[in-house]
């Protein structure tokens, strides 16, 4: 006769282990180096070439040039954190940060705009 209960030893052994889950948000895990969170942008060094906008599948970045004034806009609610913009940027001024808890009830907070001179 085959009796049920094959998992009993494992279950009882588990009682002695530390739990695999943590109490988020009091505790949170740390992100690995390569983690792709919110896009971080440093206007110093941006040439306004628009490569980031061109390669962004989500249309989350818009670069506009008005004479020598450049406006670089980023919408994190549209961004899908693929990191292609950073890879395409010839001057490496776009990096992927560690920020991941981006939920907010204020839509305006998702938009970031940098306006600067070339």
């Amino acid at each position: 006769m085959r009796l049920p209960g094959k998992l009993v030893p494992e279950a009882l052994k588990t009682l002695g282990k530390d739990s695999a889950t943590i109490r988020y948000p009091e505790q949170s895990r740390s992100m690995p180096d390569r983690f792709r969170g919110r896009v971080a942008f440093d206007p110093d060094g941006c040439t306004g070439c628009g490569m980031c906008e061109r390669h962004c599948a989500a249309d989350a970045i818009v670069v506009e040039a008005d004479g020598s004034e450049i406006s670089w806009r980023y919408d994190e609610s549209a961004c899908m954190f693929c990191g292609q913009c950073g890879e395409s940027c010839p001057t490496d001024v776009i990096t992927m940060s560690e920020e991941y808890d981006l939920a907010s009830s204020d839509p305006a907070s998702f938009e970031t705009t940098h306006t600067f001179e070339r």
Binding site: P4, L7, F81, S88
Partner: protein, 421 residues
């Protein structure tokens, strides 16, 4: 004999994580017939693909599925590489294989948990998902994201793997290997699991072949079929592994096959890490737009063994940097007919686990424009005249298909209740 009644399961049902609808004909507790309707979740991805460049489409197609995201990008970039005549460097091929097998691990462990949950075995669910975290962590360290790895690019991969990550993955795989042995020993042998899975949802070998089942679903019915062996891509011709099959075709066999495939995946990962060749990550250092400027027009069909079975991407290029057409056939679509087959004769209470048995990915499937044409000429005509889907009534003179405008009209009519289904 009990009276026959029809009960609908879905489109909204607790056991379905995504919408699909089954009309079950039942006699008492037993199911005598089943009909399936899908495509409640049409997302228009194939249409969107036509307005983006090949580079952007990698990320778009990656989002067809949150589980086999690497499968979609690999299938797609392989097709594009073929169109460009690029040969992918060895190291990149190995990294692709590594991510692919990690993905298979996490997908099968996810399924193991879901299957446990469907039969009320929540502890198995929690254990499988806890152990899956080791895989997710590896993927995150390696690629930067738990779900959408975005590691593929045209002609290679975006990220390299360093010795530290190699060691971390090795350690995790060693631990995972013990856990897989544990699952193999206990889960199929647990009496209550057997009671729920043995001889439930049976699909015979013959039926599996007739219905064109793919992946673990087909292999559990004894059908030898695995694109990794039949038409090796990435580094699969250089690693040693076995195609796992079983004979019974019931849910227990699928459970067994998937757990054993976990062990095979770990073995492949160990080989990949041991034999990782040095060298470039990308076939060409040219920026993507320069690379894509040289694309030839033509058609390619790219096959890939996703965790759920064979995945195909059909790409038609017109020589510009955006594809003219991309069509995706996901494994779940190929496996649906086996569910209908398996439901017949099962108990109503088995419906959740029988449906979960093929590891369905429902919204991935909801993207169909089925082209049925008598001959190639008709199909070519149809495509030339801007037809995006061809219906069965097509003749040689009139392809009888739908143009985009037809489809829009049809959609409006459908939603406004012109068709009261």
């Amino acid at each position: 004999m009990a009276e026959e009644t029809t009960i609908p399961i879905g489109p909204q049902h607790p056991s379905l994580k995504e919408p699909a609808n089954f009309e079950l004909t039942v006699e008492g507790e037993q199911i005598t017939g089943a009909e399936l309707s899908i495509s409640y979740n049409h997302r228009g991805i194939e249409q969107a693909v036509r307005s983006k460049s090949y580079l952007e489409n990698i990320y778009l197609l990656e989002r067809i599925c949150g589980i086999c995201s690497h499968s979609h990008t690999t299938a797609f970039v392989r097709g594009v590489e073929q169109l460009l005549g690029l040969s992918v460097p060895d190291r990149a091929r190995y990294v692709r294989t590594l991510v692919a097998e990690l993905e298979r691990l996490h997908s099968h462990l996810l399924w193991l948990g879901v299957a446990g949950h469907e039969i009320g075995f929540d502890t198995l669910w929690q254990y499988a998902w806890r152990d899956r975290e080791a895989v997710m962590d590896s993927l995150e360290e390696l690629t930067g994201n738990r779900v959408h790895y975005s590691i593929n690019t045209i002609g290679g991969v975006r990220e390299d793997i360093d010795t530290e990550t190699i060691d971390a993955i090795r350690d995790r795989m060693a631990e995972l290997s013990d856990r897989i042995d544990f699952y193999l020993e206990t889960v199929p042998a647990e009496r209550t699991v057997q009671l729920r899975c043995e001889d439930v949802g049976v699909v015979s070998k013959q039926r599996a072949q007739e219905l064109c089942a793919v992946g673990p679903t087909a292999r559990a019915s004894g059908v030898q079929g695995d694109v990794r062996k039949d038409e090796p891509y990435a580094a699969y011709d250089e690693v040693d592994f076995e195609v796992i099959t079983a004979e019974d075709g019931d849910l227990l066999a699928r459970l067994q096959v998937r757990i054993e495939e976990l062990a095979e995946s770990v073995a492949i990962i160990e080989q990949v890490l041991a034999d990782l060749p040095e060298g470039e990550l990308k076939a060409s250092q040219k920026p993507p737009q320069a690379l894509l400027a040289g694309i030839e027009s033509g058609d390619v069909l790219s096959r890939y063994e996703a965790p759920r079975g064979e995945l195909t991407h059909f790409i038609r290029s017109d020589g510009s940097d955006t594809p003219e057409r991309v069509h995706v056939r996901v494994p779940t679509l190929a496996n649906w007919p086996t569910v209908v087959e398996a439901l017949k004769g099962s108990y109503i209470a088995d419906t959740p686990i029988v449906v979960a048995g093929i590891d369905p990915c429902i919204s991935c499937t909801s993207r169909i424009g089925v082209a049925v044409a008598e001959d190639e000429a008709t199909l070519a005509d149809a495509t030339d005249s801007g037809v995006v889907g061809v219906d069965e009534s097509g003749t040689d003179d009139d392809p009888g298909g739908y143009t985009l405008d037809d489809l829009r009209e049809y959609g409006i009519e459908w939603y406004e209740g012109g068709d009261t289904r």
